[in-house]
Symmetry: D2
């Protein structure tokens, strides 16, 4: 079965499998005291600066929540898009673990603006009110759109001016980097991001994400917080080795470029089918489209996917590193056939 349901339906890239096998030799120090972790950390430091602090964790929720602990006290609020993963897809992990409130902003495309952020900051210094302390953005966003560097800089400026920090959920950061055509640093650290969740699983890893902290003063507690947050892996080399491979030979870029390309093909092909509307820019690996209602259920039986907005019949289709053009073509053909069956 190959589908367009989610980029976590896909498996593990062969080069990652190879790295895992190569790492499976003899004994290694646990909890990160191993050469793979040193190697992967070094690769991240090459990307983000020698003083960037790197903490490997299990999953995206863990990366986001732990990263946010570095920036918040429990009486703080975190400004984010209404559809942000931390707001709608991580149960109440942020509230439970941080104690913080999420202050949401309605968006049309998953991206919040500097102006919206400015308006959301209220009652600073008022002991009764949750104190806004972080702006959290997703890059790429949950709607498959990508913030430009300028948009991030603008948000960062508002944040700084109000003593807020900037967090980035980069579970699909490779897809964004490919789209922007820059290195990672340009639109993260250099654009004002303080803490980054660097995604791995959605880009071909078996498991593993990384929390990158750009201000090392903020990182002093993180090793304790990671353990407390149940995100410290004993056989750490098996996360680190995957990241080492992902950051070698441009694997991250090859995967993301291919995936984004498949989404472009998928989106453009669907757009040409009468009755189908593409609702979002296809910046990364997701395609959002309004489908005729009558095709959704039959199509889901053959190709699982999520309906993102029930009222609008808007569906989400995600490409993965292993999506092939043949599969995309076959899917589009099936959509076209179903659309024709009845209107």
């Amino acid at each position: 079965m190959k589908s367009f349901a989610s980029d976590n339906y896909s498996g593990v890239h062969p080069e990652i499998i190879d790295a895992l096998r190569a790492a499976n030799e003899g004994h290694a120090g646990s909890y990160g005291a191993d050469s793979y972790t040193a190697g992967a950390t070094k690769k991240f430091k090459t990307l983000f600066g020698d003083d960037a602090e790197v903490f490997f964790v299990y999953n995206g929720t863990g990366a986001n929540v732990l990263g946010l602990t570095a920036l918040t006290n429990s009486y703080n609020s975190i400004i984010c898009a209404e559809g942000a993963h931390i707001n709608v897809d991580e149960s109440t992990a942020p509230e439970k673990f941080l104690g913080c409130k999420l202050l949401t902003i309605a968006t049309a495309d998953g991206k919040i603006t500097a102006e919206q952020v400015r308006n959301r900051i209220q009652r600073i210094g008022d002991q009764h009110h949750p104190q806004a302390r972080v702006v959290a953005i997703s890059q790429a966003s949950e709607y498959g759109t990508v913030y430009t560097r300028d948009e991030i800089v603008a948000i960062s400026k508002v944040a700084r001016a109000n003593n807020l920090a900037l967090h980035m959920d980069g579970s699909r950061i490779a897809n964004a980097a490919v789209t922007l055509g820059t290195d990672f640093r340009a639109f993260t650290r250099d654009a004002g991001v303080d803490v980054l969740s660097f995604g791995g699983t959605k880009n071909g890893l078996m498991f593993g994400e990384a929390v990158i902290i750009f201000n090392s003063a903020l990182a002093s507690d993180m090793m304790y917080v990671r353990k407390q947050g149940m995100q410290l892996h004993s056989k750490m080399r098996f996360i680190s080795a995957q990241f080492e491979a992902l950051l070698s030979n441009d694997l991250w870029k090859r995967n993301a470029s291919h995936t984004n390309g498949m989404a472009k093909v998928l989106g453009e092909s669907l757009r040409s089918i009468p009755g189908i509307t593409i609702t979002q820019k296809i910046d990364a690996n997701g395609v959002f489209a309004i489908f005729p209602r009558h095709i959704i259920e039959p199509l889901q039986k053959e190709y699982p996917f999520y309906v993102w907005n029930e009222n609008l019949n808007e569906v989400r289709l995600m490409c993965s590193w292993d999506s092939t053009e043949d599969e995309v073509r076959a899917f589009v053909a099936r959509v076209r056939a179903l659309v024709g069956t009845r209107q």
Copy 2:
């Protein structure tokens, strides 16, 4: 490098690697909606009963803490050994996530007794005092000892009589099962255990543990709690496939038997060296020994290991599924040589 520092210094068993590769075919439903998870769950139900509920998680701390949420309210206390992993090696994850207090019992061998538990239950019904609600035991214990079935039944009876539940940290449960010579069920569910952390990582997995809940009424919240607890893996098949392999062809038993056997050889060989005292029964895969102080540092340079009690010069040596008799013999020879250098 091969050492006796920890059973998480070892890598992944080849059959597990094979299972991971086999599972890496095509797409699979995420978050457990896949055939591997169904298969592994079925194997657990065969072991523990059809109504046992199984939740795969990332690590032992996650398994313990989430399992305890099924048994506690935040005003409860949890009775455990002073040296229990949940008390001394999981940062404050239990306190932070559960809100509960850990009520500790000093032990000579890592095992608490029914009588000690009875004495620790106090002030029930007193709103000012943390209300004891769970007894938590580790099987095998952190000191390499194993509770007999009768010991567990006795604890369970005291627990039941006082309206407490029984939790078992089974991060080394396979080692204990081999020692007891029974199936898992005999000394868990059938002995009165309510919730079990079933360990995988220390017995040859790359990552992954399982929370097994024997009373399905206690399991109704767990899927939400697992997500909230940042322990839900997206590409779940890669945990499940490992457990499926571990529970197939007696891999769990082969690994644990071998490991326990190596510990026996290690312990008996060390015992014959003058100046070395074995401090605990060697029931599982750990050997605790008092070493002459002058050999500890030189030996650690060649073979990393932990000093368990600085004051006593007591060290912990752990065997793994991949420990070989040659390695054990070489290590013992080195110890013998170092002991001889000076007294």
Copy 3:
């Protein structure tokens, strides 16, 4: 100084002071084991039914947060008005103590509707998403409006149909009861409310609120939760005696009737001043009005009050049990004079 800034600027009603002095005789059992607590509890049971459970606490935030613990697990969400006290004026106490997310609904008048609640309930059974479990309403609302009994019943029906509970923040419940002209029970328990914060401080007490739980099965943990929540008073008689007095000789009603009446006079008088717009119905003791910008600061110097909406120049004026008609008239005269100074 007498002002219209808040109903907690006022002091303590003389009959309450008398009750406190009367209770200050000899020794009394602590933590509620005293005759005053028995007496006040009995008065509440007379109002709400013999099986209502009553827990005295220190303040409104405590009452709300503890009451919500009886209804939630930490992975739940609580649906409330955007301007609800629990959302904007209790720091992050709900998030920190409950772990829950607050799902907000924008309102024009502080009141949410059954239809809005229905639309906010989403993704039930989806482990990734906070699970809606409670609807929380404030009676009277933070905008001085009062839900009719029918409105509450309608919300309750939607809640019940979706397995949600209904919580009422009644910090100004006496004001609402006077407006509705019914007993408390008609628009609380009998309208489908499960847990009620019954306010005292804003209606003439020195300190103290009560959590009333209508389903005693939900109350079994509350005595422990209250202690854990730092809301259990040792010299409890001094809260209880106040409530006993408040519920005797219709003191609650006399105070609330007077206060509501003063708000009516204040609102109607202001409405007649050109350039002033009353923005909300005056159902209880609050008056919301748009003032000419130029009068706000000068007026605040003489009479402190809060600007509720900076953009609109909307201010909040609250009457208290001790507000007098002379004071209202003097304030209105001052407003009228300031309005005339410049336009």
Copy 4:
């Protein structure tokens, strides 16, 4: 009824009642923006230094838990006596609100020693282990004993040397000050205490305690934490006015001197009765004694009191500011009579 059950069985001192009535004039700013709060704060600054930060809260649990937030991260542990109020009489408020573990030390007299503290500090820098960060002592202790200034200094030195802070639960601090014969500052701030819970309720107040923070850098979050911790009173003047009175005209000292004196009389009188053993030094207002088992229940029917150690028949008797010598004599006579009835 007058008893020796607890110092919170007593009522409110007449001078405090007078202060409450005097404060009940007109309106006052809420949440501490009032002249009474300014006045009481000033009195505390006179006692402890101008840069001491003062936060009034409702009760002792609130004072302790909030004060400890100023000193801890959630991955920390707090070293305290096994019988410390925070460990055995505050439910799991510390664990729930702080996330921290309490590391207990067994004591014979309620007081921990510098040497015991030193031994309890372990595995600093080890991410797996709760990181010791605070030593918490009670002055007077829960066993009615008082730390000398030298004992506190010695503990403080160990704490400082290990980067730990020192917290004092001063719910009975006035009793200790009278015993030591010094000002408060000598055995708190000047002896190395960082944060102090200054008790009021047990020394004649109706309600109210104060958190005193000696390092103002630690106080920056406290106003938010107090609100979040549900400990911010709206009509704050009614706490502050009580403290202003307590710190005026030596009321705190008169009360504590009298109370301590009554305990001395009670203890010495009991000591002379055959079969009764006084088990603790009578440094403050508590008397601990082993009673003949046969007198306990009959005596409790007339005079409620707590059995502190069931196994030993050890009881706790507490004197209050309103205990009279006649009452003490009558109680002792009753004890003597009961002892004589049977042996």
